[in-house]
Symmetry: C2
Subunit: 208 residues, 2 copies
Amino acid sequence: MPKIVDPAQRREAIADALFAIVLKQGFAKVSLRAIAEEAGLAIGSIRHYFTTAEGIVRFALETLVARVSARLETRLASLLPQLDAGSLSGGAAKELTVDLLAELLPLDEVRRQESVVWLAFEETARTDPALADVFETSVRGSRKLMARTLESMSHRGALRVDLDLDLEVDALAALIDGLTLRSTLHPEVLTPERAREVLSAHLEQLRK
Amino acid sequence: MPKIVDPAQRREAIADALFAIVLKQGFAKVSLRAIAEEAGLAIGSIRHYFTTAEGIVRFALETLVARVSARLETRLASLLPQLDAGSLSGGAAKELTVDLLAELLPLDEVRRQESVVWLAFEETARTDPALADVFETSVRGSRKLMARTLESMSHRGALRVDLDLDLEVDALAALIDGLTLRSTLHPEVLTPERAREVLSAHLEQLRK
DNA sequence: ATCGTTTTAGCACGTTCATGCTATTAAGCC
DNA sequence: GGCTTAATAGCATGAACGTGCTAAAACGAT
């Protein structure tokens, strides 16, 4: 039998190499050669796991989405029971909600890198049908997360009653998108910590 | 004397060709050859006006910024006297303010195209120092516009008094960034008209 | 009509790219 | 210990790229 290498792990390593290049040199510099060098592999080796270059990009995007989704799911799973238990004060509940949504902000190096890569993919996806559907799903998913969050507040009676909930969902989703965009690409204008404050203040204004 | 061609006009036409390619095929497909074909010129002709390919990109970005800035300046110039005159009702003043800020949203085909190109440049600029300073300036400029807008409301006494003005400036800037991003790249999730409604509602909530 | 200069055209070169193939290497079962 | 097969390595090809450079063309003043 042959040399044993976990193929899934190898694929992830290749995706990580792609991320590193996007991060350091931008999406335009991504190429099989660059990925091979970054990963410390020969081009032939990479092509053993991915037949086309496009396949790498596609897989990398799916990997990225999976990682972020997993983190959000984890947080959500630990948050919802706490909120439903009703044992928290309004302020504590709000802080936990902020924590959940702030998961999307580039508040640490890992998330900063993910945000950069995410934004790089976004431009590529606009003209690449193979990637577009992944984004469509993700964007709808993030809107859904906002909706769930606000509905949860509403059910607890923690939300102002004079609000158009649907409109507030769009506003919250856009606000977080904008905060992420600015604090990722222009941290000297808007620091991630500041972005978190803005998010917190926004939620505070929605409270009763 | 030689054939008469307005060089400035030619440069703009070349920039427009670049915009068209970004729009139709994405930033990755931009090349001298592609630009030449789109503009109906020979590569040599283009290189007569721009010695390097990088120069075209740089010039195109400056052109884009100039166009958007000019539109904003025009609107601002017509808006400020009206507001200072104090002859408008609060509601009318707010609508005019929304109109001003909505200039940044992709509400018509021209602005949609500009937004797409703008976002494409943004990713490129992250790793290209020659473009980065243009963006730095523009991002600060847009924040300044938000600040001026809110200050104007504040001076007219049209703003709630319990607000942290600086925080609201960041929030407004991020909200508009996010609305633009979403309604440009994912109009099926957030239509531009809907984005305008969100913006309007946000400003309404800031009013006294 | 001729000349001088701007504009246009495009060839040639060296790089870089993705990809189709073919060898070579390494590891576990017989 | 040799066989089998996954994994690795890298060569060859053709296409696309930016750019240096030279030649042609177009046009207005003389």
